[in-house]
Amino acid sequence: MYSCMPRGHGTAGAYMSSPIERGELNGFHVVDPDLYDRYRAEVLALTNSYQVDINEFLPNDGTRKRGLSDAEIADRLGLDIRDVTEIRVVAEHDEYPIEEYEASARFKDAAAASYLEGGVKNLYKGDPPPTKR
């Protein structure tokens, strides 16, 4: 299956560093940053990261789409599956900066306070106050 695909699968050789540089011999595969920058957007677009009509509401007649597996993305982009996995995992965590966490705290405080004060008729409108934390 996909987990057994041979190393070096794909055609992105220009971005590949040597197996030693890539950490393969140590069992700790780190994607090349240039390869990451080159394919980050393309890989994310094929995953579940930002979903448009990837959902169970749609009929299973071909209308319903799903995010691709890393093996399927590797095939489509001609990359090594392990590079695809690393690009995806890094990119998913790299999508929003740390400031997003501060915004998240303010959002939750404001949303909960608004709802507790007035229910659905008083939902948070997207202008969070300074965080309480």
Binding site: Y50, V52, F57, G67, Y96, S104, F107, A111, Y115
Partner: protein, 286 residues
């Protein structure tokens, strides 16, 4: 001898046991319905010869937790671990009693930072809820529940998906007709810094959009993603004194506490579900 077993009675006994031990919802789904899922997230990838998929839902936050003015309460108590323990107990019961394989699917993260199984799809296939605009599977009575899935070679009769979806609720259809939004989308709009988008047409959800990355950062706020983000900031800070302020500061400290408290799924954002009318009765007491 196994051919003589009464599968209906066995199923009834297993599900009743799960309910007595805390499951609000206990159903059986056909694992074959998940064969169109992404490779690697299919039941047959985890257990060869799987015949049935038992889905248990429960351990929702308590009403008082929903009502607490301190969001930090919900950020801390929302966890799947009670359902995980129940699932393990049911799996052990099946293997010990009937001699069939039973695997409680790990709720933790697989090697590629993915789930072991599409839990939502499993719950929907079993009728342990239906999909929602907000994202979580919703039980018509209880709303949001934590899930656990037991895959087994025991050939139990399946329940199948719910005939009537919990989402969109009638109140949401009404709100959509009036305002062009729903409670969950209004509180977390994808086009205005949130995670959720979509439309309702003739009572059905269409054109759903979902920003999984932002949602994860909120749900796992003080957890692995937050830890990684803060650590990156600390490692990139050349001033040792400032670095210390980051590493010993409140965000990093709370994140470390949160990570080390729990080895299973932990939810830290509930605002779309707080506004959701499905299961409201369970969240409001006197």
């Amino acid at each position: 001898m196994m051919d003589e077993l009464d599968w209906v009675s066995i199923k009834s006994g297993i599900l009743e046991m799960a309910r007595k031990r805390g499951a609000e919802v206990a159903r059986v789904g056909d694992p074959a319905l998940l064969e169109d899922a992404e490779p690697g997230l299919r039941p047959s990838d985890l257990l060869t010869g799987v015949k049935s998929m038992i889905v248990l839902g429960g351990a929702a936050p308590r009403a008082a937790e929903w009502q607490s003015p301190r969001v930090e309460v919900m950020e801390t108590v929302g966890t799947a671990d009670r359902m995980v323990a129940l699932g393990s107990s049911v799996a052990r019961h099946i293997e010990d009693t009937y001699g069939y394989y039973a695997l409680n699917v790990p709720t933790a993260t697989d090697q590629d930072d993915k789930a072991f199984l599409d839990f939502k799809a499993a719950a929907i296939a079993a009728g342990a809820g239906s999909p929602s605009l907000a994202g979580p599977v919703l039980d018509p009575t209880y709303g949001f529940l934590y899930l656990t899935v037991i895959l087994t070679t025991l050939p139990l009769p399946v329940d199948g998906p719910l005939q009537e979806a919990a989402c969109p609720a009638p109140q949401c259809v009404e709100m959509w007709d009036e305002k062009g939004t729903t409670p969950c989308m209004a509180v977390c709009p994808i086009d205005d810094g949130g995670c959720l988008g979509g439309e309702i047409q003739e009572g059905l959800v269409i054109k759903r959009r979902y920003d999984e990355d932002r949602c994860r950062d909120r749900v796992y706020h003080y957890w692995t993603p937050g830890y990684q983000a803060a650590l990156e900031r600390a490692l990139g800070e050349p001033d040792a004194r400032k670095r210390k302020m980051i590493l010993y500061g409140s965000f990093f400290t709370r994140t470390m506490w949160s990570i080390t408290y729990s080895g299973v799924s932990q939810g830290q954002c509930f605002e779309c579900i707080r506004a959701c009318p499905v299961g409201t009765e369970q969240r409001v007491l006197i």
